[in-house]
Symmetry: C2
């Protein structure tokens, strides 16, 4: 039994410290990371992955916190991954928000991890996917991925999450917010938060009519819900809709389709990251030469593409 | 003289149609694209590149439109690249905004191009950099890059633009917006737009005190300005601050530092893109095999990393 096996066994029994160590190894992409993920991968595929996406200021973290509370009542073990520089989970927000999260921070059946270094999924995708594999394999029932994604990422939240909730608020750019290219295509559930604000009713109405026009009524018809997450209003209904969507996915060919799409994305992420690692490794090992190339490009003696060509040759890439 | 040389010559003389054709060739990454950029690269390095960044709904496009008007009074030729799915330039916004842009659409000395397929710079960086090279080389004096970036991108606006303006509005998440990791580090000028809204004064005050706390007063001390872009208020002052920053850059070692940082980024973008092209090429040429691998990952017989390893071997990467 390797030291990783021991950590995995302990994490499965609910030891948060072991789980935290595994998560750090994965996050830092330590030597053992690939080995850990390789061991865990076959055991995954059970958790329900829920993406919560939407613009900064929409109250996603407050909503996630309320959802976690709702799910905990049912005894579920919950993992939260926040890929959001503005998230209170990642320390990016005001004190009040951070305090609201504290209630779950001490719950051994809630694992929270923020990934604050980047605000988008693209650069973080390997870590996010590996951490999901970890939480899934050690027995977390629901894994929440909170992100500011606008449906225009290289790696989209809908390819990582089974169920995607798009959260918006009244008045946040109004039409502009909702008309964003892609927004109407990506989510399974739409939520207008802060329904106590003015124009909340018309924000919901607008969303509903735009969804109708977009023709997304075949198969799963995405509901438009309202909430005041801060007062936990509408959260029970949201949790219900999330469960309903998960049942729909499992009862139709939706899950299989998602599974293929998600696997293809995972392979491409792994490929892209491996190549990036190798390139950066070669650059790091030849710093002086790279700096000289930077000087040449900076002085316009050479183009970035011709320099890149030379470095690719160095990688012995055919 | 190749057909590209002819297009380039015509574009230099102000022929928008030729410029548009070159831009499309670059955008679509046609075979000739690398050749065109290679020809143009040595002739660039003259334009002032201005990044306008900030959250959706901050009124960036209205501001850019007003800035273009201001610069046109001085006879400058302006290029606008909008990497923003919510930008009116890319058709993402409400009718009123789009109409406001029309005034520049017919001006032969204003070149506007939207890049609507992605909302972040990472995936678009090759096209953005190449289009900047094009506009720069054919004689555009100022190139504006409009983006929703939050200072957390793989490719940051500050490595593409000489001068970065961060635009926000009162009440848009208030503290949360401005406290975003990175925001206080990336911009050279901060602008609170929609100063006619409530709390505008305190939004400016907050920004100013946070900048003071962040200790960014050495060298260039980023000013905090106010504007009502829709009424063209504060736009003249913003244009003045942008010019002042450009003078500061050229009069200090700022430009040289920027130039090295930017060149290093350009090389890495070129490297990453070349590799991505090769990977996708190999995957496309072996579709059946890739689909079988997707099935294996989907059924958890194999991990994404082990599949990626096989494909890398196929690329003959050492």
């Amino acid at each position: 039994m390797t030291k990783y096996d021991k950590l995995i066994e302990a994490a499965k029994k609910g030891d948060q410290r072991s789980l935290g160590r595994l998560a750090r190894l994965i996050d830092d992409n330590e030597d053992g990371a690939a080995q850990i993920v390789g061991k865990l991968y076959p055991e995954g595929g059970n958790a329900h992955i829920v993406g919560i996406t939407g613009p900064p200021g929409a109250g996603k973290s407050t909503l996630v916190s309320a959802l976690v509370g709702e799910w905990r009542k049912a005894g579920r073990r919950i993992g939260v991954l926040a890929v959001d520089p503005t998230s209170p989970f990642s320390g990016g927000a005001v004190l009040g928000d951070r305090i609201r999260m504290q209630e779950h921070a001490t719950d051994p059946d809630v694992f929270i991890r923020s990934m604050a270094t980047r605000g988008h999924l693209g650069g973080l995708s390997r870590s996010v996917l590996s951490l999901i594999t970890l939480l899934d394999a050690v027995g977390y029932d629901t894994i929440v991925l909170e992100t500011v994604g606008v449906g225009q990422e290289e790696v989209e939240v809908k390819d990582i999450a089974h169920t995607t909730v798009f959260v918006t608020v009244p008045g946040l750019g109004d039409g502009i917010q909702t008309m964003k290219a892609g927004i109407l295509e990506i989510a399974d559930i739409y939520l207008v938060n802060k329904m106590d604000l003015a124009n909340a009713g018309s924000a919901m109405k607008d969303l509903k009519s735009m969804l109708l026009m977009s023709g997304r009524q075949k198969g799963w018809a995405p509901p438009v819900l309202g909430a005041v997450a801060l007062e936990e209003k509408g959260v029970h209904e949201l949790a219900g809709a999330i469960t309903e969507h998960w049942s729909f996915m499992r009862g139709s060919d939706g899950l299989e389709q998602w599974s293929s799409r998600s696997a293809a994305m995972s392979i491409k992420v792994a490929l892209r990251q491996s190549m990036e690692d190798r390139v950066l490794g070669v650059v790091d090992g030849n710093r002086d030469e790279f700096n000289e190339d930077v000087r040449k490009v900076s002085s316009r003696e050479e183009t970035p593409a011709s320099v890149a060509g030379r470095w690719l040759a160095k990688l012995d890439l055919k």
